[in-house]
């Protein structure tokens, strides 16, 4: 009898806590539902229609997808986007980790705090303003970077005007912009590594590299997972930097999927076709996220 009453009370408490929890997340859930979930389904619906924002959408089945499959620049655009992802994600992740480890390990003083703030400044700077400043810095004649290279006798490089250098140059700006954000996440993770484990490793004679490799890195794995996931999703959606710095050029060398979606949707007013491309991008991101999950799970199992 007493056990049943206790169980009922416990269940009542659990229900109340669940309700309180639900109440806490309800506002964000409603906003997410309105501004994220509904638009995704609307986008999927529009991708099967011909829709120009004025007349009612006209159902055309898979026509947009058939047309998309025949788009000769789609492959190039996906390759460009992948190239951008492959440059930005690993570099910004490794740089953020190294800087955070360096500051946490060797600069736990005022200078370390100052350095952290300096590295974080690009995160709060406006992306469009940053892109404009980098455009000037990349100028072939008179640009800061070429002036610096000129000190070593190098010829001026047309960073944004050459197919080979345009995408890496845009990606470099993204890395500069994002590293500070991920560095703060890593720094917080490193500061939470239990001191007793580190001390035990020191007593056992582990070198700083061994402690980093076998203690810090495994403990930071959830953060790395989040940093890589956010990096991949953000990089696949790159638009503003390309829009401001190159307009997709030269000769489509920096044309990304998100920029192509913008062109079809806003410039050409062909929402249905743009939505089909957006759905394609969603599928690609989900696939890559799935592969990434498998990779992280396998590592965990090992």
């Amino acid at each position: 009898m007493t056990t049943a009453v206790t169980r009922r009370r416990a269940s009542k408490r659990t229900r109340r806590e669940a309700l309180i929890g639900a109440a806490y997340i309800a506002p964000s859930f409603v906003l997410m539902f309105i501004f994220t979930v509904i638009p995704i389904f609307l986008c999927i619906y529009y991708s099967f229609t011909k829709y120009d924002m004025t007349a009612a959408p006209e159902w055309i089945g898979f026509d947009n997808y058939v047309k998309l499959a025949a788009n000769k620049y789609l492959g190039l655009t996906l390759t460009n986007t992948l190239q951008y992802v492959l440059i930005t994600v690993p570099l910004q992740t490794i740089l953020a980790l190294l800087i955070a480890a360096f500051i946490a390990g060797s600069l736990r003083n005022r200078f370390g705090s100052f350095l952290r703030s300096v590295i974080f400044i690009p995160v709060i700077a406006s992306l469009i303003a940053s892109a404009a400043v980098w455009n000037v810095m990349y100028e072939p004649k008179g640009g800061l970077i070429n002036q610096f290279l000129g000190l070593f006798g190098a010829d001026p490089i047309n960073f944004l005007g050459k197919k080979t250098t345009a995408m890496p140059s845009v990606a470099a700006v993204a890395i500069w912009k994002n590293t500070g954000y991920y560095m703060v996440m890593y720094y917080a993770g490193i500061m939470n590594v239990p001191a007793d484990i580190q001390e035990a490793a020191i007593v056992d004679g582990a070198s700083p590299w061994q402690r980093f490799r076998y203690i810090t890195l495994p403990i930071l794995k959830p953060i790395t997972y989040m940093v890589v996931t956010m990096g991949i999703i953000g990089s696949f959606q790159v638009f503003d930097l390309v829009y401001k710095m190159t307009g997709g050029g030269p000769a489509r060398a920096t044309l990304t999927v998100a920029f192509m979606i913008y062109n079809y949707a806003i410039k050409d007013k062909r929402m249905g076709y743009a939505c089909a491309l957006a759905v394609g991008l969603l599928i690609v991101i989900l696939l890559i996220h799935g592969i990434q999950n498998l990779f992280f799970r396998e590592k965990e199992d090992a």
Binding site: T54, K67, K72, Y73, L160, M245, G248, G249, A251, K267
Partner: protein
């Protein structure tokens, strides 16, 4: 004291009610105009102050309230298009690309509101597109020819009496200038971040000089023709012969370099001469001379009235405001205080630069307008990218034209 306060309160209430009633009697108009004041001079009047001042007389005469909103150029095209789709969009609007607006019937037909005299006053009235009812829907304005600027001192320094304008001779002269002075003969903005910006100065003029027409006899876009090939081959030759500086990236770089005396010839908009090139001995030339003769591109932006003014009940007032804005008196003031453009109505008389006027007046038959057509911006982006690809050695001139047309027909328009 109590009585005094009561009377004061009643009087205030009465005044408020009266002013609300009077305000309700007044019709209101919203006017959208892009920023045109680029001068940084201390005494330069802002667009907002200029238009607010201009509309004071109109408001008094028509017992109305006009709210002028100045919009930045950055995304003006997209902004005004979406605004016209909304219920609270502007009544009178400055229009850049009108194809989508006409196709979607978003603009008010103007003919029923205008007299023949008013229509006749607009110089480019025949270029205004029509709605399904056959009514003109915009008042086109001449946005100015893209004009040639020659650095006379640099040409002389290279041992040339003058810069030859025929295509082949021009290329040879540019090579001589580079050889003798170490400076560039000719620069173009092929690195512009939008195809429209690049082509208006760096492609369409040559296409017209080669005798090209953008729309064929069926009204369809087609540049894959003899004139197109000649124009693209000319560009390729300019690049292959080392005339073009491959480092040109931005839209403003060629103008800046001309201002610094680093280049002999550029094509730019007609406002640059008197404001930007103060340290260079320069002169206007109308254009280069291609196989079909002279050819220059002009832009025709316009003013129009939102069709929703019919539902709002202020269509007549909106058309009145439209004709007031485009009247010679207002435009003369605009051209003298804010931004110089050629007159576009017969009652306009302000001429800022006699030399420029002389050059353009002598070639009125060689001034061409780039037609409006579906997905024009993306078409121009595609052509720009393909020409850039040709400069990089990946496409031939024939492929540039064929691939542009193929992509346009299969991907950019719904057939």
């Amino acid at each position: 004291m109590k009585r005094f306060l009561s009377v004061l309160l009643c009087a205030t209430l009465l005044c408020s009610c009266l002013s609300i009633a009077l305000a309700e009697d007044k019709q209101t108009l919203t006017v959208w105009i892009p920023q045109y004041q680029f001068s940084k001079a201390e005494d330069a009047i802002s667009d907002q102050d200029f238009w607010d001042g201009v509309f004071d007389a109109f408001e008094a005469e028509n017992n109305c309230e006009v709210k002028v909103e100045i919009i930045g150029w950055g995304v003006y095209g997209d902004t005004f298009f979406t605004s016209l789709l909304n219920e609270d969009g502007p009544d009178v609007v400055y229009v850049t690309d009108n194809y989508d607006l006409v196709k979607r019937d978003l603009l008010l037909g103007l003919d029923p509101y205008l007299t023949d005299e008013q229509k006749d006053n607009v110089l480019l009235w025949n270029l205004a597109p029509e709605n399904a009812a056959g009514e003109k829907v915009i008042v086109p304005m001449d946005d100015g020819v893209a004009i040639g600027y020659v650095n006379k001192a640099l040409v002389r320094e290279a041992g040339l009496e003058e810069l030859p304008l025929e295509w082949d001779a021009f290329i040879e002269a540019c090579k001589t200038i580079k050889e003798k002075t170490g400076k560039a003969g000719f620069l173009q903005n092929w690195g512009a971040t939008s195809g429209t910006s690049a082509l208006m100065l760096a492609f369409w003029p040559y296409y017209f000089q080669a005798g090209g027409k953008i729309l064929d006899e069926n009204g369809q876009v087609n540049i894959n023709n003899e004139a197109g090939l000649k124009a693209v081959e000319f560009l390729k030759k300019l690049y292959d012969e080392g005339v073009f500086d491959e480092n040109i990236v931005t839209e403003t770089e060629s103008v800046d370099k001309f201002a610094n005396g680093e280049v002999a010839y550029i094509v730019a908009d007609l406002n640059k001469g008197n404001t930007s090139f103060t340290d260079v001995e320069w002169e206007y030339v109308f254009s280069l001379v291609g196989p079909a003769g002279y050819g220059a591109r002009t832009a025709t932006d316009s003013f129009a009235v939102n069709k929703k003014t019919l539902e709002r009940g202020n269509a007549e007032l909106a058309v009145k405001a439209l004709m007031y804005i485009t009247s010679g008196a207002v435009m003369d003031e605009f051209h003298s205080k804010i931004f110089y453009l050629p007159p576009f109505t017969k009652d306009s008389s302000f001429v800022k630069d006699e030399a420029l006027n002389a050059v353009t007046s002598a070639h009125t038959d060689a001034i061409y307008v780039v037609d409006e057509f579906e997905a024009k911006k993306s078409f121009e982006d595609t052509l720009q990218a393909n020409i850039q690809d040709m400069f990089q050695g990946n496409l031939t001139p024939e492929e540039v034209l064929a691939e542009t047309m193929d992509y346009y027909l299969t991907q950019l328009i719904d057939q």
